[in-house]
Symmetry: C2
Subunit: 400 residues, 2 copies
């Protein structure tokens, strides 16, 4: 009798990104090339699909189809925000066993790493042969251990491009513009707005991150100063800015099953605009935009480096899984020292990432409302070259 | 004694677009080539700059600078929202006369056409030699007479791309997503979301335009039906949707000097989400995004056709102005009949565009919440090819 086929399964979880399908395709390609994996399945909506029996076969997908999927935003296997209960964890690993699945690749953020760890522990407890490899993705860039996360570079590119355009819009019509950027606990994405700065006086002029307590009076007087200097002020704020007591400036009400607060859309921006009108006068031209889901899904702002790395972490996940000692873990990106941007991939213990949040280090911030040159140096290669803009010379005409 | 130099001046007004500087550069290039114009000036912040004496000389700008300016979003001459009073109108035309300016090119929307008309009438009344040519721009596409307006194609491309990405995001995590799109009185931009549709079940599933009264009960039951069918629902709504009495679903409070209400950012979307939670249950995953100023300024979604036409209307404005009879007017785009997309430029009387709003015609709409195939046929050439996305085949795995 032939031995039963050895199978791998892939799932995607958490908020999708513009390049999460690059990682999916990387894992599929890795599995198809690997000696020792016969079939590769996809779980629809992550662990929820494994519980519900919603598995599809990816073994025979055409390479051309996979390449088209890779450049498509959103989670092609569909996603889920679900922390399985202890009972569900056991159900999932049993379901994997019954399908002859020895490898589980789970693409997601720190909550996904936690779920991966729970599954691994349950399998070990049962003496079940299962390797679990977490493949990192997040637009927030808040994963621990890794230098940065796939998905972040493209979202940061969107935020930088958006601020480039918005800065020029503000220069046209003046006034205060507040842009609310994703990032609940970590300010990486908001901080990326700084890449939009060109000329000496160009915005964003103020950048507020959740790594620092938000002081309303400091904000109002900083905007007022900026208006005095430039007649305008572009502000990038994280959706997660909070006061010294940790209370969100705009408090949401919903929570998901991981206990995460779901922030509402227009809240922070509208609130800050109202405060500005109160402080600077109701006649001030003040507007707010909340970039929302476009940051993680817009098809027109993918960073090439980000797309490449997202593919590579998928391929690396399979390589690591097939390696000696049958390891489980999380694929992380290590940045090589040196002037030229270069990375290598590594496998870190799931415990190092699960439920952990990597915030911006102090050296990447500057004062109460700015980032440091070191941060921009770190960021630039992840985002890629931005379009070059131009401005007219200033040759004033004397009075007639 | 040599005769005094003949001069032209250019201004930009209203909300900027991603390609408004193409038109600026078109006018500058046209003036530099024209026999009969010696110098070309720019008015900073439109008529406000003429009143304040804020003029700059554009005659000696390097061609390379102009080309970089052309691909830069925002108004390079800075913009203004200002309807001059009768006294200011006279001041403006006198200032033009004192600078030896015979040609005034004003890039903007229907309010700008109105200002252009006021200036023209004042000059005629004074017996002053002045030609005023309005160069069309608007992301809203609400200008009368012209087939479409430069600026619209790129904004429509942004809205279509945003919905492509957001649709795939929604497919990943399901639930209701409401996207609020610019367009106060005209639904052209909101309607462009329909280009994002790919597969049979893909969104946006519902599209609400200000051309039709918004009926809350119809909206709630249509979303509910859509959720029953697809487990999800992507909705594109115009910021300007209103009830049968004409009252905006989200009423703003500020008005500019043209009497336009300034709509607030998150209002309509958050309100619809609250209504949906009330009707479909608070557990429903419902989110709203308001695209805001990104629609008119994002540097990563310019339509090539739009950019070309924006340049051409600038060049055409000068050509018309130098023609026989020294005409004033507004440059409009006429679409040629035929399968292949082709346009020609024409000069229409300012009276035909000033203060007029071109809404979507009935033949471009379909039922209470959709657009017609005729509209998409009209729209596609203005937006250009959209990226091709891919999806996995569905090869379900039988239960183990």
């Amino acid at each position: 009798m032939a031995s039963p086929p050895i199978r791998a399964v892939i799932g995607q979880a958490g908020g999708p990104t513009a390049v999460i399908n690059q990682s999916l395709v990387g894992v599929v390609q890795g599995c198809l090339q690997a000696q020792g994996i016969d079939q590769v399945f996809g779980a629809l909506h992550g662990v929820q699909g494994i519980l519900a029996g919603d598995l599809i076969d990816l073994t025979d997908e055409e390479p051309a189809t996979l390449e088209r999927v890779a450049v498509t935003p959103g989670a092609a296997l569909r996603s889920v925000r679900m922390k399985p209960t202890p009972e569900q964890v056991v159900q999932v690993v049993k379901a994997l066993e019954s399908h002859g699945i020895r490898y589980f690749f789970y693409i997601g953020g720190n909550d996904t790493a936690e779920t991966a760890l729970l599954l691994l522990e349950a399998a070990r407890e049962r003496g079940q042969e299962l390797q679990v490899v977490h493949v990192p993705k997040t637009v927030d860039n808040d994963l621990a251990v890794t230098d940065h996360s796939p998905g972040f570079g493209s979202a940061a590119r969107f935020v930088a491009l958006a601020h480039m355009g918005d800065e020029l819009d503000n220069l046209s019509l003046l006034g205060v513009k507040v842009n609310v950027v994703m990032g609940r606990h970590a300010g990486w994405l908001t901080a990326s707005a700084a890449l939009a700065r060109g000329r000496g006086d160009s915005g964003p002029h103020l950048i507020y991150l959740p790594e620092q307590d938000f002081v309303m009076d400091e904000f109002l007087s900083s905007v007022s100063d900026c208006m005095d200097h430039h007649g305008r002020c572009v502000v990038a704020v994280s959706e997660g800015i909070h006061d010294a007591d940790g209370v969100l400036i705009s408090q949401g009400t919903e929570r998901d099953s991981h206990g995460n607060v779901q922030l509402s859309g227009g809240g922070v921006g509208e609130l800050l605009v109202a405060k500005l009108r109160g402080a600077l006068g109701s006649k001030i031209r003040a507007r707010a935009d909340t970039f929302g889901y476009l940051q993680r899904s817009f098809p027109g702002s993918v960073s090439e480096v980000d797309a490449q790395e997202a593919r590579q972490v998928g391929l690396a996940a399979v390589e690591f899984a097939m390696g000696d000692g049958k390891p489980s873990g999380s694929v992380v990106i290590r940045r090589e020292k040196g002037i030229e941007y270069k990375v290598r991939y590594d496998l870190a213990p799931l415990e190092g990432l699960a439920k952990k949040t990597q915030v911006m280090p102090k050296r990447f911030m500057s004062g109460p409302h700015d980032v440091s040159p070191k941060f921009l140096e770190w960021l630039r290669p992840l985002v890629g070259d931005l379009p070059r803009t131009g401005s007219l010379g200033h040759y004033p005409i004397p009075p007639a």
